[in-house]
């Protein structure tokens, strides 16, 4: 059901070339936010227009595409984006992490380690890690140029002074290859250690007109202090369906009497485990 009236993957070739240039620049300067002339897409800003543009510029007819939102392939926006590329690019789609060559994600990194040759595309709402400390883009660009990240450390220190812990649980800032402080997009900090991986990671922020990237095997350090080391956290339970103890969990309210269960947010991971015979305590 490919739309014939649009170019392959919707964007025209000139636009894709412009985006590819930004991607290549991003890969050459890991963690640096490259301005790009983001286009209006047929989905709203905030729905992943940056990720969609990066995917459009990255996909080839031979690719196999997977889209997840909150770790799941069947959330409405993941469905919508997957359909968009089925319509406009006619690429093969999958829900299997290992079978995908390009994975577009919102808010999660798949549990199954990615491999060389795969590309993970993140949807980014606010690419600037310093934005909530300094609202002006003109200022934050200067701060990055001068590697002036003291403000961020002060913020983390103040968290500890006030709460005893660093009070950032998602979109936890990282330092890329000892240079740029980068927002990993709103993934839970549980996912931060996975940012060092074999696959290419591309980040697209459509409304904010920025692309940035992490090449394979790039060193990524979550900001912390010696006496308050970074701690990836998750709900302290195994998955109710597959029993996994190592996956990030969603809390699901099951009744109005305080009943709840915890299930893998990564649906492919959970389904694969169940197919292998793993069972959690709530599995039917």
């Amino acid at each position: 059901m490919t739309e014939q009236s649009y170019n392959f993957a919707y964007l025209d070739e000139q636009t894709k070339r412009m985006i590819r240039r930004a991607i290549l620049k991003g890969l050459a300067i890991p963690g640096y936010q490259v301005p790009f002339a983001s286009r209006e897409m047929p989905t709203p800003y905030g729905w992943g227009t940056g990720g969609v543009q990066v995917s459009a510029a990255t996909l080839t007819p031979d690719d196999t595409f997977k889209v997840i939102d909150q770790g799941a392939d069947d959330t409405t926006n993941a469905v919508s984006i997957r359909r968009f590329f089925e319509r406009t690019a006619g690429v093969a789609v999958t829900t299997k992490t290992s079978e995908a060559t390009v994975i577009q994600t919102r808010h999660r990194i798949p549990e199954e380690p990615l491999t060389e040759g795969q590309i993970l595309v993140y949807q980014v709402p606010i690419p600037e890690p310093l934005r909530f400390l300094e609202p002006r883009e003109t200022e934050t660009r200067k701060m990055h140029a001068l590697e002036e990240y003291g403000l961020m450390h002060v913020k983390l220190y103040e968290d500890i002074a006030r709460h005893g812990h660093i009070a950032t649980s998602y979109a936890y800032p990282v330092k890329v290859e000892e240079r740029y402080v980068m927002d990993p997009s709103p993934i839970p900090k549980f996912d931060n250690p996975k940012l060092e991986m074999a696959a290419i990671q591309l980040f697209g922020a459509g409304r904010e007109q920025r692309i940035y990237a992490i090449p394979p095997y790039t060193g990524i350090v979550s900001l912390d202090f010696e006496d308050h080391p970074f701690e990836p956290t998750k709900a302290d339970h195994p998955c109710g369906l597959c029993g996994a103890a190592d996956s990030y969990l969603d809390e699901v309210i099951t009744d109005d009497a305080g009943g709840r269960m915890f299930v893998c947010s990564d649906t492919d991971y959970c389904e694969s485990r169940r197919a292998q015979g793993h069972r959690g305590k709530d599995a039917a």
Partner: protein, 362 residues
């Protein structure tokens, strides 16, 4: 028993079908045609063309119909369509001096060459509901008179002859284009004007109003407001000369602003400028006031910290498609982030509780 949610695709399809049905409304009521919207909802069409940055009344009317009258949604449809259009080239700058004016008023001179032409305006209507319209009466035919209006010169031109208003030097530089290049600051005036002409009408109005109430007041007079059709000409390289490729209706507002002079500029009147597709007076006047407020730096005025003086604030927040998208996206799933916040708040409460117990024990 919890079953992992499936069926997102079916839910989306069903929602779209329901939406289509709701859009049509009661089928006992005749359906509106695109032509009816284009002709009878013309000011809505104008707003969609202006903020959609595409001059096409038929498509704008279609977008309004499809969007069920939600103008920001209609603007979004037009913007998304616009980006897919190939670019053949750029027109010559339009000549608003040669505009076929249907409305032209000046608030600074009682009479002037070209005259005051009220045109089709709400200005002096009494805002009383006209129940005759509900009875679907035929509209009266307006009288016609030959105004004898020929060339209508710009008001600011008269002031300029005396050197009372700042010079606006013309330039042949290609203006920047924020639909093709990422917005980078500082933005020059041409870029700011481009952002303002497609900016949300409500946001622009609010900012302009704030300047009138003292947040960077700039004493604006409407030197001239003119509405009418202008020709769009394009140089055709194969021909070696420019040909007219059509006409567009524009609203142009030039404000004349009091200015006592600064360290760099003598006392003189200064300018604010608004130019918007269609009959869009409110927007054009708002644009001129905001344009003037944003010019504080080049005129050597003080930055009083008003929102309308802050180019970064204005330009980053004036686009309603960006704004509504980001605002509305918070209704998308955020389970994962919320879960991590739940864990964090539980942890903070545990440590706070432990501290209280310890203090009680001491």
């Amino acid at each position: 028993m919890y079953v992992a949610v499936k069926g997102g695709e079916r839910a989306i399809d069903a929602a779209h079908q329901w939406l289509a049905e709701e859009r049509r409304g009661d089928t006992d009521v005749p359906e509106m045609s695109v032509a009816q919207i284009r002709e009878q909802m013309r000011l809505a069409v104008n707003r969609v063309m202006a903020e959609g940055s595409l001059y096409d009344p038929d498509l704008a009317a279609l977008a309004i119909k499809q969007a069920r009258g939600d103008l920001i949604e209609a603007i979004f449809l037009i913007r998304a369509y616009r980006t897919t259009l190939p670019r053949f080239g750029a027109s010559r700058p339009v000549d608003t001096d040669a505009m076929a004016v249907e409305r032209r008023v000046s608030a600074t001179f009682k009479d002037l060459p070209g005259g005051q032409i009220l045109g089709p305006t709400f200005d002096y209507t009494h805002r009383l509901l006209d129940f005759k319209l509900a009875a679907e009466g035929e509209a009266p035919v307006a009288g016609r008179a030959d105004t004898g209006v020929g060339h209508v010169p710009h008001v600011t031109g008269f002031l300029n002859r005396e050197g009372l208003i700042e010079e606006q030097p013309s330039s042949d530089d290609t203006p920047p284009d924020l639909t093709r290049e990422p917005l980078e600051l500082p933005a020059n005036r041409a870029l700011r004007l481009q952002a303002l002409t497609r900016a949300d009408e409500g946001f622009t109005l609010g900012l302009a109003y704030s300047t009138q109430r003292g947040y960077a007041r700039n004493h604006a007079f409407v030197g001239e407001l003119r509405i009418g059709a202008v020709e769009v000409e394009m140089d055709i390289p194969e021909l070696g000369f420019a040909i007219s490729i059509g006409e567009v209706t524009l609203t142009e507002c030039e404000t004349v602003n009091q200015f006592k002079g600064s360290k760099t500029e003598p006392p003189q009147f200064t300018r604010g400028y608004g130019l918007v597709f269609g009959q869009t007076e409110r927007k054009a006047i708002s644009m001129a006031l905001v344009d003037r407020a944003l010019r504080w730096e080049e005129l050597g005025e003080d930055n009083v910290g008003a929102p309308a003086q802050d180019a970064e604030f204005v330009l980053y927040h004036s686009d309603n498609i960006q704004a509504t998208g980001f605002l509305e996206h918070i209704k998308l799933p955020h389970y994962v982030d919320f879960q991590s916040e739940l864990e964090l708040v539980r942890k903070l409460r545990r440590s706070a509780g432990a501290q209280d117990l310890q203090e009680a024990a001491e």
